[in-house]
């Protein structure tokens, strides 16, 4: 039985007069991977930060399940090189995180060999795994990932999506992630929200992916992880991102799938 853990209703956010998020409503359910896709500047990160409580909406309501534990992997983590930090120390975020919890997180993202390494020398893929481990430490019910495969090569990307999918399965947590890559992410997601300031369309990536065993199959053969989210919009965007009806059609309501 899925229940809502986050609800957004009619959320609007603007920065210095520029509307970044317009009338966005969606729910996040428990045990579900939701992917937010859209072009640069579409307001994806802003929306995610609203879910996290880092940004306040100008209007609309943001509801989070009381005592919801969230694990967050930010888009970029720049740590000043004056700050001496090993991976191990990075994971000791508070005095009441047990060695066992750290061990568990380390095992699930497979970074045991990196514990004594400096955080400054990690590759993109290694850094993402370390961030993922940190996000898992407090046993989150919701994992929020802002472009988790950024700066990672194509094989690493497939591995990371596989890992995220495995973690979700093992822990039964909900995942909200941002991607601007349509292809790779689709087999590892239950629900897609396509946005450009407003929500253009949302739904299951493909009808067949409704079947969990199908996802499983794609997951097992990672070479086939590429699944296309076949869809087209019934409207276009002009250079400012404003909605234009496609080919003389009336105002858009939903995408065709």
């Amino acid at each position: 039985m899925n229940s809502d853990i986050v609800r957004l209703e009619q959320v609007n956010i603007s920065f210095s007069g520029k509307k970044v998020v317009q009338n966005v409503s969606f729910n996040l359910h428990s045990d579900c991977i939701t992917t937010l896709i859209g072009p640069n500047g579409a307001g994806k990160t802003t929306l995610v930060k609203t879910v996290l409580g880092l940004i306040k909406a100008d209007s609309g309501t943001v509801w989070r399940k009381p005592d919801l534990v969230i694990g967050y992997v930010p888009q970029k983590l720049h740590i000043d090189s004056t700050f001496p930090l090993t991976v191990k120390r990075f994971l000791q975020i508070s005095r009441n995180i047990s060695a066992q919890a750290i061990q568990q997180a380390v095992t699930s993202v497979d970074i045991a060999g990196l514990l004594e390494s400096s955080i400054h020398g990690l590759s993109g893929g290694e850094m993402q795994r370390v961030l993922l481990a940190r996000a898992l430490l407090k046993n989150p019910q919701l994992l929020v990932l802002d472009e988790p495969v950024q700066g990672v090569d194509i094989n690493g990307q497939i591995e990371l999506y596989q890992l995220i999918s495995d973690i979700r399965k093992a822990r039964g947590c909900s995942v909200l992630m941002i991607s601007h890559d349509l292809h790779l992410v689709m087999s590892a997601t239950d629900h897609v929200i396509c946005m450009n300031q407003h929500i253009c369309c949302s739904g299951h990536p493909e009808k067949i992916t409704n079947d969990p065993s199908y996802i499983e199959m794609f997951g097992a053969a990672s070479a086939k992880t590429m699944a296309l989210y076949a869809h087209h919009h019934n409207h276009n965007h002009d250079l400012h991102g404003d909605v234009l009806p496609a080919n003389g059609e009336q105002q858009p309501l939903e995408c065709n799938h």
């Binding site: 930060k49 409580g53 880092l54 400054h120």
Partner: protein, 265 residues
Amino acid sequence: MFYDFLLYALVGGIGVAIVSGPLGAFVVWRRMSYFGDSLAHSALLGVAIGIFLEINLNIAIIICALLLAVVLVAMQKQHFIATDTLLGIMAHSSLSLGLVTISFIEDARVDLMAFLFGDLLAILPEDLIWIGVGGAFVLLLLYYFWPQMISMTINEELAQVEGVNVAKMRLLLMLMIALVIAVAMKIVGVLLITSLLIIPAASARPLSHSPEKMALLAAVLGSTAVVLGLLGSYQFDTPAGPSVVVAAMLIFVAIYLGPTKKSQA
């Protein structure tokens, strides 16, 4: 006793170095050295106000530094001028305002040099109490909030999602720096105070693989600089405050040029 002044200077200097080590590490990590400078400059305004209102100078300096820290935090929320510009305006205006105010005080026999460059050898037992109480207070706060402060320094958004009250921690850190600067002003003076925060911390960096080690090592290296500087000052009859800073600088150079094994973290 003839040597009492030297003993007071040593105890006071080491006391300040022990607190400014860990705090200085935050100044280095968070690139706040200009912030420290601005607060230090404002301390002279505190001196002027203290003399003017005839209240205890230590209290006047502390209040002035704390107030300025709060004003800075509040003004950083505006986006019209960059923080470094803002700090520059505040640093030099408050320094000038302090100097102008002092010149108005009729029969003021203010030893400006002592305030600008410190008068370590004029430390009294009363000052030691200020350093002891202020220092212990800051160290306790630092210990208590250490995990949150480290989290915030690594990444503020991550820390906030993990439940750290980042705005509160940021203000607390600034207030602690303000307090240490106010208390330490007597040791090295307005113009040299930031050096006691950043030089030992910067010296500790290549030898440290964890933030905790860097903070502790900064305290040790700062204390060493105080001892060496005071001995040198006594031996060669040089001004005490600048001698301590020169000693800190020599330690810094020795560590960066020396054959010591550098940390990879």
